[in-house]
Structures are given as structure tokens and as C-alpha cells.
């Protein structure tokens, strides 16, 4: 016991600082030496884990069955939408429970371009991103004048309203009145020899995800990212140091809408249609995005991916566990959600980070001399 205390006292001061002292996500800000140099074992562990995960992600579609690949692709597009929400909610602190509406808009836009205008599906993705960003701007302009709580409400209304709008304006007859657009199945076929359709779809999702996550990672570590975190932590203070509050919120909103729209386009590829038959669908999706962000870890880059995988696995296992009792699955899902928040209040990625920080601190006390640059708090 006393041994332990001894260690703490000899540790460099900034290392003894609690994670809570720092703004979440701000430890990735470039040019600010908030973090001590990473101890070598942690660094090596990170490289090994990174290489193994990359290899696994690339090899996965050849290892799994088509139905599992589909599940993984679902997790990937869910992760893209969650990352969009993470930029808005995790980094900028504006809660939205209506990103399902942008997801749905992206899905319908992509399906319409493919079905009515004969576009190649892959080509619709950047166009959908642009279109959804514009819609995000239009919606965000009035919505962001209202603060925190009210934004959540306005976006909640959007998610509930969207299926009604889609039902009214985007209906495909086919003789029957089905509010859904189903492009031909071969619109999504593999463009590469030697790749099955399910593998192709997985890779399209994976590439999109990597590009968008990389963009988000860079963005959040640069000047715009610092502005976003400042807006989240303390609006007034951010404004006094020259952050343009409404502009920051507005473009973050548009950007996060674009992410959700791209995810919606990807969902058309996986599900084969854009549908508004279930009036609660886009509200449920909005909740799933938020859940993925929070259980993965807000204001982290890997969090949305981890969260999305967890959500998809949780959803599927809850369904399998209780076949025959359809209502038990949401009950278990809801319960698991509450439990996760208690056990890992800063999400899976946050939890893992804390673990590594603790291990790192232990190693650091033996390996590193106190850092002369450390801020004396």
C-alpha cells in the first residue's frame, strides 16, 4: 500500500493528473504537449494491435460467411453515421437524436439516383454526401439558433417527421402503395473479378469508413477540432477567444449530416432498398447512432466503430437468444445499454485508454525520468 503511494509521488506530475482534468478528445489536439511521451511497451502494443486489426479487417470477408459479411457491413455503415454524430455530439457537444432523418435522406437520394437516373451506385456516394450536407445546412440554420436541449427536441421531431415526408413524396407504386425505392439487385454487383458481391460490398463500406474516419481524425486534431471542443466545453469562453460559435456549430452540423447521408447510401447497397414502411425506423436508427457513440466512447476516433460493432452484435444476439419472444430483444437491448453506461461511463475506448494509462504510468515510473517540459499544474 505504502509502496504504491511512493510510486505515485515519484511519478511526473502531469502523469498523475486524472483524465477528467482534460477536455475529452482534446488530448489529440496537435501542437499542445498535453500527453507525456508514450512508454515503449504501450507504443509497441499499439503498433501490434493496429497491424493485427488491419490485417483482420482486410481478411475478414474471405473468412466469414456471406450473412456474417452482411452483418459486418451493417456495422461499418452504422459506424460511419455514428462518427458523424460523434463530430457533432462528442466533439462539439450538440446533442442530436434525429440523425436518422439525414441517414434516410441519403438512402432515398442514392436509391433515386440509381433507380431513376441509372447512376452507378458507387458514384452516388460523394453526390449524396454533398446533397445531405446542403440539407444539413438548411435544417441546421434555424435549429442551431436554439441551444443544447432544444436542438435534441427539434432533431427528434425531424426523425419522426422524415418517414411521413418520404411516404408522401418518394413513393414507388409498383401497383401497390409501398413507400420504398428498390433499385435492381445487380446495381450493386461487384466491379472486381474474383470478389463475390458480399465481399465487394464489405470493401466498399470499409474504404468509405477508412476515408471518412481519417478525415475526422485529422479534422479533430487541427484548428477546427480545437474550435469544436472549445464550443462544447464552454461556449462563452470560446466566443471570447474568437471562435465563431454559430459558424462552428453550423458546419459541424452539415458535416455530420453528410456522414449520416453517406451511411444511408451504403445502407441502400446492403439492404437493397430505401424504405419508410416502418414509421419508427429512423427514430430507432437515431437512437442506435447515439448509443454507438456513447458506448464506444464520445470524442474518440475509434469509439464509433467499436460502438457500432457492439450494437450490431448486441442486437443480433438479443434476437437469437430469445427467438419466439420478439419483445424480449428490445428489453435486453435497453437493459444492456443502461448497464454499459454504469460499467463504462466513458465508453469502451475510454475504458481501454484508462487501462493503458494506468499500465503506462506503472511502466513509466520505472523507465522515464520526470519530463522537464511537464506543466506544473
Amino acid at each position: 500500500m505504502s509502496d504504491h503511494q511512493q510510486q505515485d509521488r515519484t511519478a511526473p506530475r502531469h502523469m498523475a493528473a486524472r483524465d477528467g482534468d482534460r477536455a475529452r478528445g482534446a488530448d489529440t489536439v496537435a501542437g499542445v504537449p498535453l500527453q507525456p511521451p508514450t512508454p515503449r511497451p504501450v507504443f509497441i502494443a499499439r503498433v501490434v494491435v493496429g497491424v493485427v486489426l488491419t490485417a483482420a479487417a482486410l481478411y475478414a470477408p474471405f473468412y466469414f460467411t456471406p450473412s456474417d459479411n452482411r452483418l459486418l457491413s451493417e456495422a461499418l455503415y452504422l459506424a460511419v453515421a455514428a462518427m458523424g454524430l460523434n463530430l457533432l455530439t462528442g466533439f462539439t457537444g450538440q446533442v442530436s437524436i434525429g440523425h436518422g432523418a439525414f441517414f434516410g435522406f441519403g438512402a432515398f437520394a442514392s436509391a433515386t439516383l440509381v433507380d431513376d437516373y441509372g447512376w452507378m451506385f458507387e458514384a452516388t456516394i460523394p453526390v449524396v454526401a454533398l446533397l445531405t450536407a446542403v440539407v444539413g445546412l438548411l435544417v441546421g440554420f434555424p435549429a442551431l439558433r436554439v441551444r443544447g436541449l432544444y436542438l435534441a427536441l427539434v432533431t427528434l421531431g425531424l426523425a419522426v417527421l422524415f418517414p411521413q415526408v418520404a411516404d408522401k413524396y418518394a413513393t414507388r407504386g409498383d401497383g401497390r402503395n409501398i413507400p420504398a425505392i428498390r433499385p435492381d439487385r445487380d446495381s450493386f454487383d461487384s466491379l472486381l473479378e474474383g470478389l463475390e458481391n458480399d465481399q465487394w460490398k464489405y470493401y466498399v463500406c470499409l474504404v468509405t469508413l477508412v476515408v471518412l474516419f481519417f478525415a475526422a481524425w485529422n479534422l479533430t486534431r487541427a484548428r477546427p477540432g480545437r474550435a469544436m471542443i472549445a464550443v462544447r466545453e464552454q461556449e462563452l469562453a470560446a466566443a471570447t477567444v474568437g471562435v465563431n460559435l454559430s459558424a462552428t456549430k453550423l458546419w459541424t452540423f452539415a458535416l455530420s449530416a453528410a456522414y449520416a447521408g453517406v451511411a444511408g447510401a451504403l445502407s441502400v447497397m446492403i439492404e437493397g432498398n430505401a424504405s419508410a414502411t416502418n414509421p419508427a425506423l429512423y427514430f430507432q436508427l437515431s437512437i442506435e447512432f447515439l448509443v454507438a457513440v456513447v458506448i464506444g466512447g464520445t470524442a474518440t476516433i475509434l469509439g464509433p466503430l467499436v460502438g457500432a460493432l457492439l450494437v450490431v452484435v448486441l442486437r443480433r444476439n438479443a434476437e437469437e437468444l430469445v427467438s419466439g419472444e420478439p419483445m424480449l430483444s428490445p428489453a435486453l437491448f435497453g437493459g444492456a445499454l443502461i448497464l454499459l453506461v454504469y460499467v463504462l461511463p466513458d465508453g469502451v475506448v475510454g475504458g481501454v485508454r484508462r487501462l493503458f494509462a494506468r499500465l503506462g504510468r506503472r511502466w513509466a515510473t520505472y523507465e522515464l525520468a520526470p519530463d522537464p517540459l511537464s506543466r506544473s499544474a
Partner: protein, 294 residues
């Protein structure tokens, strides 16, 4: 003109339900600063309880009273067991996630326990109407309005005229200081949640009694309208919630009747209404401005 008045009264009776649920939302928001997304499902569960009691042969008024008592206890327990651990957490989103988890779980639990078939709560008020100067005024509308008025008077008296109400308000405005002067803040928070749950139970049961049937998804759309009502009223004002509920209810009924453009997308109305009000008055109709300290 007759049609207009009829639709207006229609709107008032649905507005009373929106207002009641909004009242419950505001109570919780004022005491804990939490948006309770599970409010509608809590009310749904209580409504099923009311149905269960009447099914066992208890009179409908007694059944509602029992269900309100149940909801009061359950609301207090939920606050203590589920909400307390995440209150004041480092990440305020966690509370939102917990209430969303409750939203899913309580809805599913209600359907597991009570079944997915549609249920009917017996009418509380007579189904006929009075003839007032040539227009029919349903006794149900008057009854519901009376109940809402009674709720308001009760809450006003409780909050403004009793020691407990004073403590409740103290905890809402400054939990830290009220703890220092010896108020049991935990008990007050439980009381707030219990009250809100009981009001929700009453609103849900009365709504279900007026309809031909209710099912698992009945409360979700009501929750959206109630949020609209609360936002309209400014979210920290009880009067605002009631007025907001009535405005949303009436505007909704009139939109359905008169605005063909919004046929099928009537929900655009409450949404547009919130936006319009918040753009002009960001604190809602009755909300107070908060001064922030950096």
C-alpha cells in the same frame, strides 16, 4: 364556423393530454435537469396497470388511483436505482442514454407482461355531450380540462404553499446549497420523479379511456407532441407546459382540418411551431433567461 369550433374543442381535449405529459416532463427537468425520454413509456406501463386493475373488477376511478400510486413508487425507485448513479456524471450524455435505454426496455416489458393485443380502458367520463349555444361540447373534453386544471392547482399549491414544495424548489435551483442547509436532496429528487410518473399515469389512463383502444406504440407520438408543448412553454415553467400543450393540440387539430398541403405530414406543424417560437424567443414562451458564469 361549427366545424371550426368542433375542431377547436377536439384540439383542446388532445391538448390536455399533451399538456399533462409535458407537465411531467417539466417537473423532472426542473428538479434534475434531465430530459426524460422514457416518460411516455412510463405512462404507457401505468396505463396498462390501469387496464389490469379494471380487468380485475376494480372501478375505473379506483383503478386509476391505484395505478397512480404504483407509478409514484415506481418513479421514485427508478430515480434512486437507475438515474442516481449517472446524475452529475462527467459525461451528461450518459443520462440521455439511460433514459433512452429505459424507453426501449419499459416499452418491451409492458408488451411482455400485458401482451401485444390492443386493450381498452373503460370510459371515465360520460360519452355524450352538452349543448352550449348550439355547439356540442363533449363532456369528456370538459372533464379532461377539469382534471388538468386540478393538477395545476395541486402542483401550484404543493410547490408554492408547502414546506416540501419549498424544499423541492430549493433543490431544483441549487442542489449544493440546499444540501448544506440540511435538505435531503435525494429524497426530493425521488419525490419529483414520483410526482412526474403519477401525473404521466393519470394522463395516459385518461387518454386511453377516451380512445377506443390503446397499444404499445400509443404513447410515442404523444411524447413528441408533449416535447413540443414543453419546448413551446419554455421547459422550466409549469404554466408554460399547460399552455404549450393546449396550443399544440389546437394547432394540430386545425392543421389536420384546414391545411391540405400538410396532409400526411401533420407532424411538421409542432416542429415548425417550436422552431418559430424558439427563433423569436429562445427561452420559450414562459421560460426564464439564465445568466451563465464563465
Amino acid at each position: 364556423m361549427d366545424l371550426f369550433i368542433a375542431q377547436f374543442l377536439n384540439g383542446v381535449s388532445s391538448g390536455v393530454v399533451f399538456g399533462s405529459v409535458a407537465l411531467a416532463l417539466v417537473l423532472i427537468y426542473r428538479s434534475t435537469g434531465i430530459l426524460n425520454f422514457a416518460q411516455g413509456e412510463m405512462a404507457l406501463f401505468a396505463t396498462y396497470m390501469t387496464w389490469q386493475f379494471t380487468d380485475w373488477g376494480i372501478g375505473v376511478v379506483g383503478a386509476i388511483a391505484l395505478s397512480m400510486a404504483f407509478a409514484f413508487v415506481a418513479g421514485a425507485v427508478i430515480e434512486r436505482v437507475l438515474i442516481r448513479p449517472v446524475e452529475g456524471a462527467h459525461n451528461p450524455l450518459n443520462v440521455v442514454i439511460v433514459t433512452l435505454g429505459m424507453f426501449l426496455a419499459i416499452n418491451a416489458l409492458a408488451l411482455i407482461i400485458f401482451g401485444t393485443t390492443e386493450r381498452k380502458v373503460p370510459y371515465v367520463f360520460p360519452t355524450d355531450s352538452w349543448d352550449v349555444l348550439g355547439t356540442n361540447v363533449a363532456k369528456e373534453t370538459v372533464g379532461m380540462a377539469a382534471v388538468l386544471a386540478a393538477e395545476c392547482v395541486f402542483l401550484w399549491a404543493l410547490l408554492q404553499k408547502t414546506k416540501i414544495g419549498l424544499r423541492l424548489r430549493a433543490v431544483a435551483s441549487n442542489p449544493e446549497s440546499s444540501r448544506l442547509v440540511g435538505i435531503n436532496t435525494g429524497a426530493m429528487l425521488m419525490l419529483g420523479w414520483g410526482l412526474a410518473a403519477a401525473i404521466g399515469a393519470l394522463a395516459g389512463s385518461l387518454f386511453a379511456a377516451g380512445e377506443t383502444a390503446f397499444a404499445g406504440s400509443s404513447m410515442q407520438i404523444i411524447l413528441v407532441y408533449a416535447f413540443a408543448a414543453a419546448a413551446l412553454g419554455g421547459f422550466d415553467s409549469l404554466v408554460g407546459a399547460v399552455v404549450g400543450g393546449l396550443v399544440v393540440g389546437v394547432a394540430n387539430a386545425l392543421t389536420i382540418q384546414y391545411v391540405d398541403l400538410l396532409d400526411g405530414i401533420e407532424l411538421a406543424m409542432p416542429l415548425g411551431l417550436i422552431l418559430a417560437v424558439l427563433l423569436v424567443r429562445p427561452t420559450g414562451l414562459f421560460g426564464k433567461r439564465h445568466v451563465e458564469r464563465v
